[in-house]
Subunit: 284 residues, 4 copies
């Protein structure tokens, strides 16, 4: 199961014959399908499909696949996205002072759980520099002050371009990216430390404690301009009781934050997530 594969994600208006059309195209060209997942959103009248097949023995050359796939998508009035399992996405991890999510992602990358490269880590603090050095990852300190936020974001965008970044992961990055920034780079996964949409905004664990909840949550989602409102990829929960202080909620929260974030990143990297109408379909 370790040979190379290609994944096609397609969204188009629903119509009869789509599964047959897509699978037929792969089969006609000698492709051996490993996974084929489909979803129809009846209300939205949309068809979503994810097909993964072996690159070896496929009759269309690697360079020609995008052309053929785009032609197919055009004919169906939809949009296609391709990824190849041997091309490791280049990921920039953003963090502030807390280490748990960053460490977790670096360890999972090193151990092979997350098929990605991490050419740079960006932080608005210096606390995590040592950790990055231990993992042999470049650490970039980019301070963010209110009066020079646009300068900081410009510096960050330059770094993203220079390092050809495909995905940003906000691993407890305590800064809000401007809509201007999001207009220039928008493939971003964030971990929010609450069971969204409960406890939006600041200090969710304090809010949760005040409310006396019996479960806390963490939510990994794509970032959109509407803060804390992007498409949800993964949610995880932990039990709490009256014995737990705010600090205990924060401690328990760290475990569910890093697990929800790592799962979401893995799903994204394997092209198992499709976004449509503010929601996700997760083929897992």
């Amino acid at each position: 199961m370790s040979s190379k594969t290609v994944v096609l994600q397609l969204i188009c208006p629903d119509q009869p014959g789509l599964v047959s059309e897509l699978a037929g195209w792969v089969a006609t060209n000698g492709g051996n399908i490993r996974h084929a997942d489909h979803h129809t959103d009846a209300g939205a009248e949309l068809f979503l499909s994810r097909i993964e097949w072996d690159l070896e023995g496929f009759g269309v050359s690697r360079d020609s696949i995008p052309i053929a796939v785009n032609a197919l998508a055009d004919r169906l009035g939809g949009q296609a996205h391709l990824s190849f399992s041997d091309e490791l996405p280049r990921v920039a991890i953003f963090a502030s002072k807390q280490s748990h999510c960053l460490l977790d992602l670096l360890w999972r990358t090193r151990s092979g759980e997350l098929p990605m490269q991490v050419p740079l880590v960006i932080s608005n603090h210096r606390e995590l520099e040592t950790l990055c050095r231990e993992f042999g990852v470049v650490f970039n300190f980019v301070p963010t002050k209110f009066e020079s936020k646009s300068d900081s974001e410009k510096m960050i965008l330059d770094l993203l371009t220079k390092h050809q970044i495909d995905l940003i992961v906000l691993a407890k990055y305590m800064q809000i990216l401007s809509s201007d920034f999001l207009g220039k780079f928008s493939t971003i996964i964030n971990i929010h430390h609450s069971f969204l949409p409960a406890f939006k905004g600041a200090r969710p664990y304090h809010q949760a404690w005040d409310r006396g909840v019996k479960l806390i949550g963490a939510t990994a989602h794509y970032v959109t301009e509407d803060l804390d409102n992007g498409p949800i990829i993964e949610q995880s929960i932990a039990h709490v009781s009256h014995r737990d202080e705010v600090d205990d909620l924060i401690r328990k929260g760290r475990d569910i934050e890093r697990i929800a974030l790592a799962r979401a990143v893995r799903l994204h990297l394997r092209s198992q997530v499709m976004v449509y109408r503010g929601r996700t379909a997760v083929f897992a």
Copy 2:
């Protein structure tokens, strides 16, 4: 383990020596303690205690226990609550059209899981009359129209008085009790069909679907005037995916609703819940 016990719940300002004082009082009078649970809320500077001991062999007569306990509470500047395991609370279940929570509570009562009596069921619809008849429970139809809401509530209050009701359980009762009503009867447990505080208000499953959540929840809580904001007793969750329609969320929700509600009612009936400052301590 089936002999009779008495449970004392006490809340008072925190001070050294409280565990010793309470346990000492029970021990001095020959009481054999089965369970002793305590909690100190450091921020609120409050001490909460639940002590359960055998009634048999206890040196204070049953009638005198309340007097002694109140004297103790007064001395400590706190409030005490007593319950005896052989006195089954009298519970009125309120429901509208949906049967799952009502059936569940009636079955658990019949099978001995819930130590309570159900002298009456009140509904603003007639759908559940047959179910009540099957379980041999009195069904009271009390229609609730906007223009005569206070008349309906008066009728309900008369029924509660007549049947000496100790607790109301709102088992999917789709009516809001007025603050006037709550001023007259306020020991009420409700099941809210969401993971509070997310999705307050109407049609939470539709809200949850629109938001694209990956987990749904149900929350059992005490009723207060501030709607959906009462002290939480129990929360339960279920996983959902993009394949689930709103109807699937509602179906999955029924399972977590009835389980969260049944657990909360059982905890209350066994005097395992203590309320303070809009929160609960649950000794389970």
Copy 3:
């Protein structure tokens, strides 16, 4: 989404082009595919597929579909199974004295959650007769004594034939069906009151308590001759602590038993389960 559909389940040796072949056959005949799920077991070199499409507008007549499908399966060297959403399977529920699973299944059937008919309930005790009467279901008392077990099983088989039963659900039926019986009727779902394969055999909650576990489980599985070893469909768990006595484990177990069993039965009824090599693929 409420119109009629047909579900094809197919297992065959893995080979390229299968998804295309199946989807192509449906599409060529004008079928609108609602769900298409596939799984390849690389080790077993098997391909499993479940395709669900609208019956309305499909170009092959209902009577001819089985013939066409079997021809297709033969050509692929596999086996096919068909089901139509408007044909409610006829289910016999077997139970002994405990009511929780039986009540749950009857309520879910009545409320529309489980697409099935229940022409008969069979029990080796009389305790559940009243419950069945309340739900308007025929109750059959079939005593099982050691010396006349084969007579009892013959009586049961006659009832199954007479009522044209498609599926048996063992809802806490405390009898072991003989291999002779299983040779004559083998579509049977059982709920085992443990997290299989832990605590096989008798009194699993006592075993679990003795072992001091922190989680208990329930397992819904197909019945095979090798007791407690059939293909697992669904498992559910509950937390326990040192405060829980054996009776508490049994009580908590009832909740996970009925939920795991109901889910498994629903998955089976909707043809979402496929069995192969002692395992199941569950397309949910």
Copy 4:
């Protein structure tokens, strides 16, 4: 809440007045109780108690507390255990090649989640040496060959003595400690990669995959001579499906292994676990 506390754990034959006696002793000496938890095992006729109080202001000097406590325990015919929150237990972590549990424990120690010191890591392989160096922890390579196992164990015991180790944590240490070793050092926590008692022994994930389970588990337990049969402290589970290969079970297992192990170690370090008759009471 950060000031120093002392924890008393006491097990003795059950008798009336014990809570009062213990709490009274603390109160008489001016101790402010923070937590008091008790459990009575009715079958075993045993009373278990954990009391935590402030060291500041307590009328018995630190050196005299053990003497007083042992006298108390003797009088009650039981056994006492004391711990002080400002004395960090010295923990040796044993691991083989896999890094996830070791890294997790080292990170949690560094971040303050686990109140312990790690003077040494012992491994029968060299793979984890770099990781230990990054965390500034001494790494000891102790090869274990069949023919020289007793020599290896002697070397390990010498290291334990030299470093005054209080607790061993087996963090995926793929060696079995001899009963001779256990006779000399027995405060050991292990993580077993299955939902014990299912899948004892070797390669539990392969066993679980073969059996087709829908949930996998991990069990943290104290080590006893009877392999995989020691008192369970914590269990954790993860959902799996037919899509998961053995490698996926192993990957998902890593997450629940490290979480179950970290929780168990934290509970032990905070003296929240009491062992009796092959079981644990966990006051959390």
